[in-house]
């Protein structure tokens, strides 16, 4: 189930869907769709080898947390296909990208559009911060910085079992402020874990604002290389560059692709909000209406019909 649509088309679909959802729900993780639409579209449409989904297109309600008393528990990984040796595995490390990830599942035919109507509703598994049981998720990553370590462990184990499939971690650049990220890279390099790769959305943004104002991280490409990874830097909105970066040889080392992105790509109106873009709420009905007209025009769609309050 790949390549029925172009990756460019899917990226546009992701932006439109997240925009429509945020307009209707009085705000959302808009800038993450701007920065990461091409990356998630690339992963699901061509970068990863994933099987057909094994969970229902309309997500089931929340069915309890893992416990000895809950034998039927499943994660949301089934939306990425079955666990088979030849298939790749994907962890979405920044769990607050969940809305964008769900939109990607819909655009790639892995989940019904109805799934997004359950977003952040009580009793739903389609949670605001992606949980293990949320569509497309396999592990909890809401605590930032743990994803790459988990990916490294899984990749090492799969390599030991002789599985062909790779393990990919979609990351966000804020995670480089966490020490664990660097522990993970040094361990992956030390143990030659080369069936592991990461695609990092480098949008220079974090919750408090621009990263440079919160905690400078300096030259992260040089740091990743010094810690033992192969590191490639690309323009996150250039899909040809992304394809080329994915093909970079990295024998005996993990591959980290730094996708330098714009947090307002495709929704220029958001530049007015810079640098507070982590979660966009509307300041007034006037702003909401103005944003609706402006961004809809840029995305090539009609303004979203809003319910009157």
């Amino acid at each position: 189930m790949r390549n029925e649509r172009s990756t460019e088309d899917i990226a546009m679909g992701i932006r439109r869907r997240v925009f429509e959802h945020s307009m209707r729900n009085n705000g959302g993780y808009l800038s993450q769709a701007c920065s990461a639409a091409e990356q998630l579209a690339f992963l699901y449409n061509e970068g990863l080898n994933l099987g057909e989904p094994v969970l229902p297109a309309v997500p089931k309600p929340f069915a309890g947390v893992p416990s000895a008393d809950n034998p039927d528990y499943v994660t949301g990984a089934g939306y990425n296909g079955p666990f088979e040796p030849q298939y790749d595995r994907l962890f979405i490390a920044p769990a607050h990208y969940a809305l964008v990830a769900y939109a990607t599942l819909i655009e790639t035919g892995r989940m019904d559009a109805e799934g997004l109507e359950m977003f952040n509703k009580d009793g739903s598994s389609v949670e605001m911060i992606g949980a293990e049981h949320s569509p497309g998720m396999e592990v909890h990553n809401g605590t930032l910085g743990i994803g790459l370590s988990t990916g490294a462990g899984l990749a090492w184990g799969r390599k030991r079992r002789g599985e062909k499939g790779q393990t990919c971690v979609f990351m966000s650049d804020g995670e480089v402020q966490e020490g664990q990220t660097w522990e993970a890279v040094q361990a992956a390099a030390h143990h030659g874990i080369d069936n592991l790769w990461a695609l990092m959305d480098v949008n220079d943004q974090q919750c408090d604002g621009a990263m440079d104002s919160v905690m400078e991280v300096r030259d992260i490409a040089a740091k990743f290389r010094a810690f033992g990874a192969v590191c490639v830097e690309i323009d996150a909105h250039d899909l040809d560059a992304m394809r080329q970066a994915k093909a970079e040889p990295h024998e005996g080392q993990p591959l980290i692709i730094l996708a330098r992105s714009s947090p307002t790509q495709g929704m220029s109106f958001l530049q007015k909000r810079f640098p507070r873009l982590h979660y966009v709420r509307f300041k007034s009905e006037e702003e909401r209406a103005e944003m609706n007209i402006s961004i809809a025009a840029e995305l090539g769609i009609d303004p979203i019909e809003l319910e009157t309050h």
Partner: protein
């Protein structure tokens, strides 16, 4: 004289791991200190060095669990939950990975002071959903800890003794059970880990003083057989004394208190252990005496429950076992 066993974990882990190819040996730079250096040298393909980076080790172990492996993490207990607590929650406990946390140097069994002494680990682990807790009290339990831990469908934290360990029991740990070491009817004494040996030291003196003790040794702290404990409490007429190598908040004393309160058991309870305090660095014998974790403290606790004075003094207690300070079986200074 009690038999002393040298480095029981070293041989027990090796024997267990070689029979179980999906068991992996993980270490965080304390390989010889956790008695797995021989295993590393003889079975390098089953050993993973993850360096002094416990946060990564914990999440990495979660990933290994996803791949169907059962990693045994070796470090001092403190380093398996204090720094990597977030990773323990998200990568191991929540998803019920079959990760076996082998925590060495429980409580005051190290002269390393606050940074090395896991004095609140049981309280932490008891509060984590999906987590199981085992504690070893002698060489036989150390020898059976790997099999016991690996039988658990989910994560487990184990308090493991190292170096020269006395042999008190002749049957392996049976997960979920407890050992009845004496069946008297005045006071129920509940001990765990190294505290059990202290209770045994006081046994003859108490008997001579006419005190009838019912004694339970607990190796499975979570899950816990609540009804068995209640039955034992029902079999004594005075009350309960718990002695543990741990702070009294949240440990086995608290566990017993909760079960008694939940079931309306109106008998006196004395909890002995570290009383809302850190310890400092020193020998085990010194620390146990200084902080009231030894046989003498247990006798005083029993006297409180009985409302009597036994007259038992240090002379009357069996001679305390003293480790040779520079014993060859010690892994290192700490």
């Amino acid at each position: 004289m009690v038999e002393m066993v040298s480095r029981p974990y070293a041989s027990a882990f090796e024997a267990f791991a070689v029979k179980n190819p999906d068991v992996l040996c993980l270490s965080a730079d304390l390989t010889s200190s956790c008695e797995i250096d021989g295993f590393r040298d003889r079975h390098p393909d089953q050993f993973l060095s993850l360096g002094m980076a416990e946060q990564n080790m914990m999440s990495f172990a979660g990933g290994l669990g996803l791949a169907g492996y059962r990693p045994f993490l070796h470090s001092f207990g403190v380093f398996l939950y204090r720094r990597p607590y977030d990773q323990l929650m998200a990568s191991v406990a929540y998803p019920r990975r079959k990760v076996r946390l082998m925590g060495f140097l429980p409580g005051i069994t190290t002269p390393g002071g606050m940074t090395h002494q896991a004095i609140e680990d049981i309280a932490v682990m008891r509060s984590i959903p999906n987590m199981s807790i085992l504690e070893t009290g002698d060489a036989t339990e150390v020898e059976s800890i790997c099999e016991a831990a690996d039988s658990i469908d989910g994560p487990v934290y184990c308090r493991v003794l190292r170096g020269s360990v006395p042999r008190l029991f002749d049957t392996p740990i049976k997960v979920g059970e407890m050992r009845e070491l004496a069946g008297g009817d005045d006071v129920l004494v509940v001990t765990t880990g190294i505290a059990t040996e202290e209770a045994l030291r006081a046994r003859d003196a108490l008997s001579n003083a006419g005190v009838s003790i019912r004694h339970l040794h607990i190796h499975t702290i979570k899950p816990f057989n609540e009804q068995a404990l209640l039955d034992h409490i029902g079999s004594v007429n005075k009350g309960v004394v718990v002695l543990e190598n741990h702070v009294i908040a949240g440990g086995v004393g608290s566990l017993v208190a909760e079960i008694m309160a939940d079931n309306g058991v109106g008998k006196p309870l004395v909890r002995l252990g570290l009383k809302d305090t850190y310890a400092h660095g020193g020998s085990r014998g010194y620390l146990m005496k200084h902080y009231g974790l030894d046989a003498g403290a247990l006798v005083r606790g029993i006297e409180r429950v009985m409302g009597i004075e036994t007259g038992i003094d240090e002379e009357a207690l069996a001679t305390a076992r003293v480790d040779a300070v520079h014993s060859a079986v010690k892994a290192e200074a700490l």
